[in-house]
């Protein structure tokens, strides 16, 4: 009796997620492969934390990476823009190709890689010593890029991040005066200013309230028209709402693996792997 009921419930849940996911038509906006991971492994010291991940990210789409805590999702996206190497003892193997060129190849300027592959973090982290305007344009200063139309760029980035109307009258106030959700959109605007091809988002809404989360999801959908977005999320509803493709990561105590990657509607309605089905129906994780 109890079992039956549970099954019923999880079925409803699957169906609702599947229907949310089906509302998006995967791949229709794809403009070819933007970023490719080839047989990526990762270690922290002796600990093997990621094993043999190969995954394509199509330009003009959103790819969600889901999976339980500790399965290596965050480690994986930090490998994509070479933030992984800031952790002492971190190591990796495999290739990450941006426009077909390995971002780990010898002689590459790592700051150029990070200009092409931007990142938004879990906790909003605007620079507190800078105003809203300075925050948005900080990437240009940090990467020593000179431009003529700073005000135009400022407005463009804030509009695309969905923040312009809220801050246009107080661009000279400090970033810390904004709410958490606004700060996160400011961080998105800041990433956009250096015109990246790819935007990585590491659980960008986990520190935010539901209203702010929805605003950010709208922003993600708008941005995906022009760039490649990879988002790590714990929230399956969010994966279903915003992504075209979903990758499911899992670790059974050993290194994290990519169990399945497919159009999001398939993952939520008709997953090939039993473990994916168990996870998206809420049987564990």
């Amino acid at each position: 009796m109890n079992n039956e009921r549970e099954n019923e419930m999880s079925e409803t849940k699957t169906n609702s997620l599947a229907s949310i996911a089906a509302a998006r038509t995967p791949g229709t906006t794809a403009m070819g492969v933007g970023l490719e991971a080839r047989s990526v492994h990762a270690w922290f010291g002796q600990k093997h934390v990621l094993s043999d991940i190969s995954l394509d990210f199509y330009a003009g789409t959103v790819t969600a990476l889901i999976g339980p805590s500790g399965c290596g999702k965050s480690t994986f996206i930090r490998i994509l823009n070479r933030m992984h190497e800031f952790i002492p003892s971190a190591a990796m193997a495999g290739e990450v190709l941006l426009d077909g060129k390995d971002v780990y190849r010898a002689g590459v300027d790592v700051t150029k890689i990070r200009l092409g592959i931007g990142m938004v973090f879990q906790k909003p982290n605007p620079f507190p010593s800078m105003t809203i305007k300075e925050n948005v344009l900080s990437g240009l200063k940090l990467a020593q890029i000179k431009i003529n139309n700073a005000d135009e760029l400022l407005e463009d980035c804030l509009v695309r991040a969905g923040l312009w109307s809220e801050v246009k009258d107080r661009l000279d106030q400090y970033g810390g005066t904004l709410s958490g959700g606004q700060q996160q959109r400011l961080c998105i605007a800041r990433s956009l200013a250096v015109k990246p091809q790819v935007l990585l988002m590491d659980e960008p809404c986990s520190a935010l309230d539901p209203g702010s989360t929805l605003r950010i999801e709208e922003t993600i959908r708008d941005l995906s028209k022009t760039m490649t977005i990879v988002i790590v999320t714990h929230n399956m509803q969010q994966a279903a709402r915003v992504s075209d493709y979903t990758g499911f990561f899992l670790s059974d105590g050993g290194p994290g693996e990519l169990v399945e990657a497919a159009p999001t509607s398939h993952i939520f309605s008709n997953p090939k792997d039993k473990r994916t089905e168990d996870y998206v129906t809420g049987r564990f994780g």
Binding site: N81, R114, N125, L142
Partner: protein, 336 residues
């Protein structure tokens, strides 16, 4: 008629008001071991406060007569003459030139020591390879433990012959600027050389305080900068320096405090002259601490009192600089 007593039962809307209690006192009975330990550590804390207070009281008491007789001129006048019956001189004590000289060599020390220490701190925090960090930190900390007379001797025998030549060179090309001019040819034991020795001596404290402040820079801001394509240097300028500014300034002031109080090293490499001279290369400077050690051995009893008074002034100046430094460091630490 209206005075009819109203029964409580008939008027249930008006119950007896709840009495708001006083907050309870929350106590605990500490164990004996805890009480013993508390007594030991608190007496340690109080004894250092008491000693500090007694020292300043002693200096004030000993110097009080001098402050009375000399008044403000004790701080403003340049003359330091002990009473002498043979020479028929009257006593006159003023530490103005010495106070000025103390500040001059302190700032020269800061001018050379601060950039070196800041560079060392940034190097150790963000550029040094792992294997080099520990030994380098150790070496810099050991520098703080070297007795100051050793710095004095090194300054006299090793640094001075070199620094003399540097001074001549600067004088040759920039001599038209008053502070670099030279009325004679007396380059030894100048404020410039004393300042250089002080610069080396204050590097450890500024370096270690700056390193501690830099280490607290929030990692998420550093990562945000790198994720935007920052180079290491542009990250440091945009994130680390704005965050650590207050702490670093506080560290520099602690260094200044040390420089102001430094005695023996300065005494070895500085020629004391009771006059305010603008030329920093000229063999004529001042230092309150060195004045005391210079005069102490052969001072007459009244002169001794004047030295105590000078010590009191030095004590107050050093205390003020240190308090200010700590206030700046704490304010930055709270800002987060």
């Amino acid at each position: 008629m209206h005075d009819q007593p109203v029964s409580i039962l008939e008027n249930p809307v008006n119950p007896v008001p709840t009495k708001v209690p006083e907050p309870r006192e929350i106590t605990t009975e500490p164990r004996l071991s805890d009480r013993v330990f508390r007594t030991v550590v608190s007496s340690g804390g109080f004894i250092s406060l008491v000693v500090l207070g007694l020292i300043s009281l002693f200096l004030l008491y000993e110097g009080l007569n001098i402050f009375r007789s000399e008044g403000l001129s004790f701080i403003t006048s340049f003359e330091w003459v002990a009473e002498s019956i043979e020479n028929g001189t009257e006593a006159s004590y003023g530490i103005g030139a010495m106070l000025y000289g103390t500040l001059v060599i302190g700032f020269i020390g800061l001018f050379f020591g601060f950039p070196l220490a800041l560079g060392a701190a940034l190097f150790l925090s963000y550029y040094a390879p792992e294997w080099l960090k520990k030994p380098m930190v150790l070496v810099i900390d050991i520098m703080a433990a070297i007795p100051s007379i050793v710095f004095g001797l090194w300054g006299y025998f090793v640094l001075m012959p070199q620094a003399e030549e540097w001074a001549r060179l600067i004088n040759k090309y920039l001599g038209f600027i008053p502070i670099f001019s030279m009325p004679g040819d007396f380059y030894t034991r100048s404020p410039f050389i004393a300042g250089l020795v002080l610069a080396v001596m204050i590097i450890p404290i500024i370096t270690s305080i700056s390193r501690e402040v830099f280490a607290q820079t929030p990692l998420d801001r550093i990562q945000a900068a790198y994720a935007l394509g920052a180079t290491r240097w542009s990250m440091i300028r945009a994130v680390v320096i704005p965050y650590g500014k207050g702490g670093v300034i506080g560290g520099a002031m602690l260094g200044l405090g040390r420089a102001i109080g430094e005695t023996v090293a300065v005494y070895t490499v500085l020629n004391l002259v009771y006059d305010i001279r603008p030329e920093i290369f000229l063999s004529a400077g001042g230092s309150v601490a060195s004045l005391i050690v210079n005069k102490f051995g052969e001072a007459t009893p009244p002169e001794l009192k004047a030295l105590m008074a000078a010590g009191f002034v030095l004590f107050i100046v050093t205390l003020a600089v240190n308090f200010l430094a700590n206030a700046i460091i704490n304010r930055t630490a709270r800002q987060g």
